[in-house]
């Protein structure tokens, strides 16, 4: 399997996002170094899992990569480079898609245009990511009116309907307000929105945590399908290591702001190197396997 995957050059060889030695500090009293010297490379079309427990810095890292750090977080060092989309015949009207961008250096208008167009985010709180007082249509249109000002209204509307269909939501829902949608539907709308500008990278921060497992499953499947069809790379952040192992190409395990282990899903699952990775894996009892380290298991052992 590993060999087979490594032999797929179109997916893994071209880097799309390079993160070099990124450090992020929260300027509270005393300052907290939330991310410390993290480096990794995201390849085109790849799903990179970012695993770790709460407070390990995985979400902060995601915000740092997308230049969305909330106060008082400050990126104190490092480079984030988004590589141009060479070799891909995307629409010729987006010149900067071709460019290699130093994300950290972006400011003002440049930064604003970079956002969503090339890297989009699906946030954790599917319930709150949508503006409660605007219709789905308005919020989708917003993306186009801002980034594609030349686009005609009819085309825009057509595109919005397509997007909803793409994520499996009835286009009639365009007229709905967020509160009229179920949690799963809201998250699908968010994913549709994240796809709107055909970005190279999509960051997904616990996109399914608040959802029921069955819904969660169908959304993850949807993401996988879309990734296959559209070819964007995904940084998938979650504490749910088993899920990551199941869906990711590679996994970075974070703890206390550092990546303690980075490897393919197979490596992480079958042959974890770091103690922390092992500990984390052991925390998830196997659904179908043996009972692992559980007390009741111990009881059986004792009884045996």
């Amino acid at each position: 399997m590993i060999v087979e995957r490594a032999a797929e050059p179109d997916l893994t060889v071209q880097p799309v996002l390079t993160v070099e030695d990124v450090s992020i500090r929260y300027e509270v009293d005393p300052p907290v170094d939330a991310v410390r010297g993290v480096s990794f490379t995201l390849h085109r079309g790849e799903i990179l899992g970012l695993a770790g427990e709460s407070g390990c810095g995985k979400t902060t890292l995601a915000y740092g990569i997308t230049r969305l750090l909330k106060p008082p977080a400050v990126m104190t060092g490092g480079r984030v480079v988004l590589h141009g989309r060479a070799g891909r015949d995307a629409g010729g009207d987006q010149d900067d898609d071709e460019a290699t961008t130093d994300v950290v250096a972006l400011t003002g208008e440049e930064l604003r245009r970079f956002r969503w167009d090339r890297v989009s985010i699906v946030f954790q709180g599917s319930m709150n990511s949508l503006n409660p007082v605007m219709t789905v249509r308005d919020q989708l249109h917003d993306v186009f009116t801002t980034h594609r000002p030349g686009m005609r209204r009819r085309v825009r509307e057509q595109r919005c309907r397509e997007l909803l269909e793409l994520v499996g939501v009835d286009p009639a829902r365009l007229a709905s307000f967020p509160h009229q949608l179920s949690g799963g539907m809201r998250q699908r709308v968010m994913i549709a929105m994240a796809l709107a500008l055909d970005p190279q990278v999509m960051v997904m921060d616990e996109p399914t945590t608040a959802l029921d497992v069955v819904v969660q499953r169908s959304i993850i499947r949807e993401i996988m399908v879309l990734r296959e069809r559209l070819g964007f790379a995904v940084i998938f952040i979650t504490h749910d290591l088993p899920l990551l192992i199941e869906i990711s190409d590679r996994i970075a395990v974070m703890r206390d702001g550092e990546v303690v282990e980075l490897g393919t899903a197979e490596q992480i699952y079958r042959a974890p190197q770091a103690d922390y990775t092992k500990q984390l894996l052991a925390s998830f009892p196997s659904l179908s396997g043996t009972r692992g380290g559980f007390v009741r298991g111990r009881e059986e052992v004792l009884g045996a």
């Binding site: 956002r115 989009s120 503006n131 409660p132 007082v133």
Partner: protein, 334 residues
């Protein structure tokens, strides 16, 4: 729809309560407007005795109905009210309370309405701005406005008159319009509107200065809270222009509680405007209220109170409708 039904029902109950309170208060606490009026007539006639017919007619108009139960009186009261009959004023006998209020109400509605809307818009816009630029020097603006808010309206008004109107002569001192230029009263002309406008500036400024801080503070606080909402972060992540994020995503949501609190604040503004009208001899209902209270003119007092209450309720109702437009959630979830 359910939201509107519920609100309408609420207003109906509130109107009923206000009217009933109005009916009950003078009956709970004694006080005889007829006796006061008769006393006044007696003094006016220089100690000459009043004819029994006059006393009978005053008692009939102002006195408590005799031989009827409270319930019957209540029904009669409602009947009269529904015919637009608020009784006869005893301080301005025999003027009808309705006529007195009809002449005064437009002034108050326009003055207080304009000043309130102005104050609201100013406060919301400034509050949104200060909240947006949180963590900058603008933060210090917020405590300053609370000082303004803590100044008694009438005190501020008196100082403004003394300085701006009397000393500097920048504004007219009293009245709703220039009575010297328009001796025949209000007329439909541009010049009159200009005159009314210049007379309204200082009272309006007083109301705005005293009330803008509340809106500003509320809006700023909500704005700060809203700014950390996910949908605002999402909007920023979407690369939307800051102006759009501020207005459509942050401010619009942050303004919702201010709209909801409009009713409370309006009550305060109306209170302030009553004393403000007094300082400026402004021909509004606040003035009538004060005169009614000092002259123990119960009919006028009740009439003005009722009309002020109904006006505030109407304003609240309008705000509720607006609220429904701005916050779609209330339309479906009651």
């Amino acid at each position: 729809m359910a939201f509107y039904l519920r609100r309408t029902a609420f207003y109906a109950v509130t109107v009923w309560a206000a009217v009933s309170l109005n009916f009950l208060l003078p009956r709970l606490l004694p006080g005889d407007p007829a006796a006061i009026m008769i006393g006044k007539l007696r003094r006016a006639s220089g100690g000459r005795p009043l004819s029994p017919e006059v006393i009978a007619s005053i008692n009939a108009v102002l006195g408590p109905p005799k031989g009827t139960s409270l319930w019957e009186q209540y029904l009669i009261y409602w009947g009269r009210l529904l015919h637009g009959d608020l009784g006869i004023s005893s301080t301005r006998y025999p003027a009808r309370v309705v006529d007195l209020i009809a002449a005064a109400l437009p002034w108050t509605v326009v003055l207080v309405g304009t000043a309130t809307v102005l104050s609201f818009v100013l406060g919301i816009v400034a509050g949104a701005w200060v909240g947006w630029r949180r963590g900058t020097w603008l933060d210090h603006l917020v405590p300053v406005t609370t000082v303004l808010q803590s100044i008694p309206y009438f005190w501020l008004a008196l100082v403004l008159v003394a300085v701006l109107a009397v000393q500097l002569g920048m504004f007219p001192i009293v009245g709703g319009y220039d009575v010297f230029d328009f001796p025949a009263g209000p007329e439909a002309s541009w010049a009159f509107l200009v005159s009314a406008f210049t007379h309204a500036i200082l009272p309006a400024v007083t109301i705005v200065i005293s009330s803008v801080g509340g809106w500003l503070l509320g809006m700023r606080n909500m704005m700060v809270a809203t700014m950390s909402e996910d949908y605002v972060v999402t909007a920023q992540a979407k690369g939307l222009r800051p102006s759009r994020v501020r207005s459509r995503y942050a401010a619009r949501n942050a303004a919702i509680p201010s709209l909801a609190g409009f009713g409370i604040a309006l009550g305060f503004v109306v209170a302030g405007s009553i004393v403000t009208e007094q300082v400026f001899s402004y021909p509004g209902v606040g003035r009538l209220m004060i005169q009614a209270v000092s002259g123990l003119d119960y009919s006028l007092m009740q009439g003005v109170f009722l009309v002020i209450t109904l006006t505030v309720l109407a304003a609240n109702f309008v705000m509720d409708l607006l609220y429904g437009l701005i916050d779609p959630r209330v339309r479906t979830h009651a």
